[in-house]
Symmetry: C2
Subunit: 553 residues, 2 copies
């Protein structure tokens, strides 16, 4: 199969329509049945595959950057009587286990992004469910702040995965039903075993939707609700958006290159060596300069590149199990960009860039690859880029310099900056520093106190900011062994280990979705009862019943 490409733009959409009318945008799902990403299935009934979701992700992003005037987003369907039938079943049945899991991860991230827009951008998403929303279709609605269901004696919301397919809803449905919408757990249980779901006033009474609206009043009520939500939005007034210009990218079999982000694909060691370059020029002086640079502003450009790289590697290079993270450039310049973003924090664009960086780092956190940060002379692990090292499973910082390479170099330093102290929380609601120093308030306070100080290896190790600080003599061996050893371990066990160690501390909707719900779903996906030749996923639509191993595990 050819490589999947995540870059797109509204002019290229096959499945969605994005229309903006003043403060209200309407995102209409109208899936092209013949437009599947992979041959072998038709995307009937507004069902989706990865290709459909890639466009949705693009729309969510563009609304935030290109449409600061939009304060409410109506998500609806362009089909008659059907809102969305969820992920395409034939696609799921034909997909490999890694594909299914990666697909669910990306769709989950996009739904979390919809919630992030509502919570942090004053772009409130409204699900205008104008036909039946089943499975992933209802889960898409669940990501919205307000769910309206047309009350017409045929349209329903449902989670039919368990009774029909022998799997779980894969994009947060179970968690959002009880933890976000507070549907009572026994009602949720009944609902999730009922293939036809619930409709109308009963769906509203059970909190599955916020309101059931008779069809004659539908258009008017949706418009009214959108106006109300827009009026209640915290988003500022009358600003011009920036253009998310096409992302330039060189992609070959052994390298991926952008302006600030490079990756070498080392298949022999099953590793991707990723280098992120700091800013090429000094930061603009103020928000006006930031707006002028738009998509060229370093933080935004670098984040878009990193985002695309993560998605490309996750989807196209599942065998590269370790990502080695390096940075290169001037640390003070990185901090200056951070400072501008934080100083201009009432500026919508500065805010959007910071939230986007936050979301992209969260994507890294939930990536099922071992992350190893290498902190070498000439690097700039400071502030926003220090987050890469803090996101890593391990970090190595060179003590001293590479004597053979550049004996006069400045030894590598890490710098904690304001960006590390709040604006970029993980999915668990804590900063990466707070998670790192969970239960050790003294170490956290010391790290904060020494913010803005360049810390060379020995001090960084002592303060707990890095894992190991080998010197020139040990460096090559220690790093080589770490990478080679990682490639020798069970990839599954590594994924499980990392998923558990990366998220110490409190749990949130997000960590429950990625940590708990996803783990159960992965297990179920992998069991013969779902994916075996007689499993429910394979038997769906054949008229035959699945043949289950009845033992409860």
């Amino acid at each position: 199969m050819s490589r999947v490409e995540f870059r797109t733009c509204p002019a290229s959409y096959r499945h969605w329509n994005l229309a903006v009318d003043g403060p209200v945008a309407t995102v209409t799902m109208d899936v092209d049945e013949q437009g599947g990403l992979v041959p072998g299935y038709e995307l009937k009934l507004n069902s989706y595959d990865l290709g459909v979701d890639i466009e949705l992700y693009d729309a969510v992003q563009r609304l935030r950057f290109e449409h600061p005037e939009v304060k409410a987003v109506v998500l609806t369907s362009g089909k008659d009587k059907i809102f969305c039938a969820g992920a395409n079943i034939r696609m799921l049945a034909a997909s490999s286990h890694p594909w299914k899991v990666n697909f669910c991860k990306f769709t989950n991230e996009t739904r979390n992004g919809i919630e992030d827009a509502t919570a942090n951008s004053g772009q409130t998403w409204i699900a205008a469910v104008n036909g039946t929303a089943s499975g992933g279709g209802y889960e898409l609605a669940l990501a919205c702040e307000h769910i309206m269901l047309v009350d017409d004696r045929s349209s329903a919301v449902s989670l039919p995965e368990l009774p029909l397919l022998g799997v779980l809803p894969g994009t947060g449905g179970l968690t959002r039903v009880v933890d976000k919408r507070h549907v009572r757990r026994d009602l949720a249980d009944y609902f999730s075993t009922r293939p036809e779901g619930l409709s109308g006033k009963k769906a509203a009474a059970w909190r599955l939707v916020d309101e059931a609206v008779p069809r004659p009043k539908w258009d008017e009520t949706v418009a009214e609700r959108a106006r109300e939500m827009a009026a209640a939005s915290s988003r500022g007034q009358g600003q011009d958006g920036i253009s998310l210009t096409p992302l330039e990218k060189d992609r070959s079999d052994d390298a991926i290159g952008y302006r600030y982000v490079q990756a070498k694909l080392d298949r022999a060691r099953a590793a991707a060596e990723i280098t992120i370059k700091g800013p090429a020029a000094a930061a603009p002086e103020d928000a006006a300069g930031l707006h002028e640079q738009g998509a060229d502003f370093w933080t935004l450009a670098m984040t878009r590149e990193l985002d695309d790289l993560i998605l490309d590697l996750r989807t196209n290079e599942p065998e590269l199990g370790t990502w080695v993270l390096r940075t290169t450039g001037a640390a003070q310049r990185v901090l200056a960009y951070d400072e501008l973003l934080l100083k201009a924090k009432d500026d919508w664009l500065a805010k959007e860039i910071t939230h986007y960086l936050k979301r992209t780092l969260k994507r890294l956190d939930v990536t099922s690859r071992s992350l190893i940060a290498l902190i070498e002379p000439g690097s700039c692990f400071a502030g926003s880029l220090l987050e890469l090292a803090l996101a890593a499973d391990r970090s190595y910082q060179l003590a001293g310099v590479f004597e053979d390479e550049d004996p006069d170099a400045e030894p590598a330093a890490v710098i904690v900056g304001p960006m590390n102290l709040g604006p970029l929380p993980m999915g668990n609601g804590l900063t990466r520093l707070q998670t790192r120093f969970l239960g050790d308030d003294d170490a956290l306070a010391a790290a904060e106190k020494h913010a803005n100080e360049p810390l060379q290896a020995e001090e960084a190790e002592q303060r707990g900011l890095i894992t190991f600080a080998p010197d020139d003599i040990d460096w090559a061996d220690e790093v080589r062994i770490a990478i080679e050893e990682r490639a020798s371990f069970s990839p599954d066990a590594l994924t499980g280990l990392e998923a558990n160690y990366r998220f110490a501390g409190p749990e949130t909707l997000e960590t429950k979705i990625f940590g708990r719900l996803t783990a159960w779903q992965n297990w179920i996906f992998n069991r013969p009862n779902a994916s075996g030749p007689d499993g429910a996923l394979r038997k769906f639509g054949t008229g035959q019943r699945a043949d289950f191993d009845r033992r409860r595990v």
Copy 2:
């Protein structure tokens, strides 16, 4: 294979020694290599199987009920140079997936029980790690409040599951390392990839243990620490324990019967029909009466029976996927027993019984069976027994009476009592009522306000305490369909659904262990990389390397 029996007593232990010396008990692990529960493996190096853990569970229970004088428990090994090598690998490699998962669940519950003894009974467990503790051996130590490691240049603690077996530590290790002991996540990552683990002062510096003690000072320091912990204990003085007399049980292929608990095994419908009888006599008047009755006191006797039944059914009857829960007896009498326990809450035995009921109900919560409560005339779903209905995935309460059976019967009622309002929290730290009404404070307040009122079906339904309230005409069909339908669904998907819906709200060590860590471990156990013919579990000890599918999922 023959049925597994969980009832035992110290005189029958093959693997443990329990010695009590005033306020300090010593629990010594000395596994009989030839004493495996199932043929086919030797329990070398103090490794354990389910049979070994059944005895440990018994010891933990007896210390709480039979030894109120014990305030510190030293857990140590009777072998030379080895503390415990964890779960037996050959046993794991030879076990079916359901067996492995059920085994891990039970061992997890026992380790949680050790923490519960420390937290709630003033019985502080100390791990005296007098030799190497690897894998499940170190996890056993992690359940203790204080970990002492002998510092002798050979003894270490380790979690070698990932590098050696391609699986995760299965009894809470990952969670306890970062969330309980606050080992830094990158150090935890390194530690968990190092088969030989860490020893001595480094293990202490990384917080993996609390202290490393040189061998010459070992005995003296362990004794000193035990004295200190006992002295600091909140447990009362000089009381007499009660005897946990042998539990009488009739077990056949189609029924399990105790004094207060009965189960009919309905293999045709893949269901166990469980009935719990209320007290046969009025509650004793005071704590003295409670002590006099000892193990015959209804709440304790019923809880021991329910506990044994849960363990029996989980282990021996994996195909009975639905448990139907009924009660029969006088509700006011149940409430009177509850009242006595709560009134006498400073009495150690009353406290122990309440905590034991709490732990047993938690066992029900994490049981991978669908739970359906049937509330019929003559039932006594009140207070402590109402928890069964609240633990269920669904409940049905008959509106009115069975006209053909007993037209003059009193209609079924449920009664919220003080036991439902705090003393019996779930693993998530909330009561079952709080979890049920998550995000709906009004409904919770109303349920509390109407405590002690018998609520018939219509009112109970309206107050959200039950799921459905069919009348005589609909009852038989609705209940039949619910049970039959459950048996038709994918057992795996049901397990995943229930694990997600039962634990809305906050997360704790316990919910992380059962919800997240367990789900990942189940997935990994089930993957060819671990359990396939070339998987790491099968290749362990053969000198051959596992052949991994390298794709990261």
